[in-house]
């Protein structure tokens, strides 16, 4: 039995559940954190989403059928939780998602947990101008270096569409950086 299958079995067993869950968290925490952080921008939000994601994984592990990879399933939960938080924040503040993003970016310079230079800030601005899905694809490919196949599993989109989306995103970002 391979590692993932063993981990799954332990996660679903009463006896080994907690230890297996710790193992899973150790395996995924950093990757998931950065995936989430790229979407929600602030550390505090990323921390909330990451913890909620793990709690959701723990609660729903029994419903994981194994028809996709554990990895894809986990990332999918993290992605959905991130977007849900953004939508919730926008709704609470009675502003659009775009406006929320804009305000998040404008807060970066004063954010203790952002020490990017001017170019890095401009890059964040450029990314925030993209459509939401394109942002996801760009972040996953550019910052996290995920394979197209994995991104396709997570976002449930074809690889071809993702490649096209990514190349378009790169072009738009480059144009933005050049203009600004």
């Amino acid at each position: 039995m391979n590692d993932e299958a063993q981990l799954l079995e332990d996660l679903k067993s009463e006896k080994n559940k907690e230890q297996a869950f710790r193992t899973l968290m150790t395996l995924y925490k950093e990757r998931l954190y950065w995936h989430i952080r790229n979407i929600v921008k602030s550390h505090d939000d990323a921390d909330d989403v990451l913890q909620n994601t793990f709690i959701k994984i723990y609660s729903n592990i029994h419903s994981f059928k194994g028809d996709s990879k554990l990895f894809s399933w986990i990332y999918r939960i993290a992605t959905n939780e991130s977007i849900t938080l953004l939508n919730k924040n926008a709704k609470q503040l009675l502003i659009s998602n775009e406006d929320l993003q804009e305000s998040a970016i404008s807060n970066l310079p004063t954010d203790v947990y952002f020490d990017g230079n001017e170019m890095q800030l401009k890059l964040q601005e450029a990314i925030s101008k993209l459509p939401q899905k394109q942002q996801l694809v760009f972040n996953m490919k550019y910052f996290q270096d995920l394979k197209y196949k994995d991104i396709a599993d997570i976002l449930e989109t074809s690889e071809g569409a993702l490649k096209a989306s990514y190349h378009l995103a790169v072009k738009k970002i480059e144009a933005y950086l050049t203009k600004n």
């Binding site: 710790r22 952080r37 913890q51 170019m119 890095q120 790169v170 950086l177």
Partner: protein, 166 residues
């Protein structure tokens, strides 16, 4: 080399349209971006080290949450007052399906009603249809002359009618 092999010149691989045309652009863009470095996002010291413990303790807390007792005094009070209200309504005629129809009314009741309420002659008349007034209402009584004479003599002031000065 075999003949077959000599004839296979092309490996059979294909490239997407415009692949080479856009390649330079794509690679250059990527390189420019890569020169920017990472995202600039930072994480608090020790954040990842304590994460597992934080999450596990949250899960334990969720599992040990106090079960809220629905049978509190306040709830029982609400429930019993609602039940009492419903019972009361069932006993009132509001819920009685027995409807009042004309047939169930006693004649006396109707007569009393007509006598006590002022039902003007116009109201009464509006209830009458042409059909109500039938010939039978003006029954042809075969009054005997004698009875008629008696009636006239006893009930009518004949002097008045014979008087010249009316």
């Amino acid at each position: 080399m075999s003949d077959t092999l000599k004839n296979i010149k092309n490996a059979g691989f294909k490239v997407p349209n415009d692949y080479f045309e856009s390649l330079e652009d794509t690679v250059l863009s990527q390189m420019k971006l890569k020169s920017i470095g990472d995202s600039g996002f930072k994480v608090p010291n020790g954040y990842f080290e304590s994460l597992e413990d934080t999450v596990i303790s949250k899960i334990s807390k969720n599992e040990n949450t106090k079960v809220i007792n629905i049978f509190t005094r306040r709830n029982l009070l609400y429930i019993s007052s609602i039940a009492a209200t419903i019972l009361l309504l069932f006993n009132l005629s509001v819920f009685n399906k027995k409807s009042v129809s004309f047939e169930t009314l006693e004649t006396v009741t109707v007569e009393n009603y007509i006598m006590n309420e002022y039902i003007g002659s116009y109201d009464m008349a509006s209830l009458l249809t042409d059909e109500d007034i039938v010939d039978e209402n003006f029954i042809e009584h075969n009054f005997s002359e004698e009875n008629i004479e008696n009636y006239i003599l006893n009930n009518i002031d004949i002097e008045y009618y014979f008087s010249e000065y009316k």
